[in-house]
Amino acid sequence: MTDLMIFAIFFALLALMNFYRFIKGPTAADRMVAGDSMDIMISMAMVMFSLYTGRGIYLDIAIITAMLGIINTMLVGRYLDKGRWLYHAESDY
């Protein structure tokens, strides 16, 4: 049983290591890459913790974390791309 908790703590530590790059990163893209891997780490830690405690509610938190993380990444990526949402202006939608 405790091995799952050890893995959960390990993933949380990895998320902290990514946080170093999040603070230090010279450009916005660096920060966003670190933030993206950070929230995947956090959702993995949530999965492990949910199996450890045996309660399903932490899995919902993991799903929502992964979803919001990808929306964040897309948003910042498109913002850096000068807000151009379409590749071809003559496309039909």
Partner: protein, 113 residues
């Protein structure tokens, strides 16, 4: 026996996640860091989710937990490359270049000058 297999699978995921984290911290420029962080999102997530799936099916015997774990893995694996495209293209268009000049750079040749 089953617990050993589960531990090995999660351990593989943890090792690849550690490799990706080291890459994110130590790689020299944005694009290489992005390559390293792909390591986390593929085999790291797959290893952890496979182990967790086996645990949920055979130890906990709880179908909704297993289904949610499958949903997490599928969600991360399908949506993450889209974010990677967005960040890579956005970083390049915003003028972020690696310090050491890249030897082959067709993108700059075709679009920049």
């Amino acid at each position: 026996m089953l617990r050993v297999i589960i531990d090995i699978l999660i351990g593989i995921g943890a090792v690849f996640a550690l490799a990706g984290t080291i890459g994110v911290i130590k790689m020299p420029d944005v694009f290489s860091r992005m390559q390293a962080s792909t390591c986390i999102t593929t085999l790291g997530v797959l290893g952890v989710c496979l182990g967790a799936l086996l645990y949920a099916i055979f130890v906990m015997q709880h179908p909704s937990t297993a289904v949610k774990i499958v949903v997490i893995a599928a969600l991360v694996l399908t949506t993450n490359p889209v974010g990677a495209h967005a960040i890579a293209k956005g970083a390049y268009q915003a003028g972020i270049r690696p310090e050491k000049k890249m030897e082959t750079d067709d993108y700059r040749r075709d679009f920049d000058e």
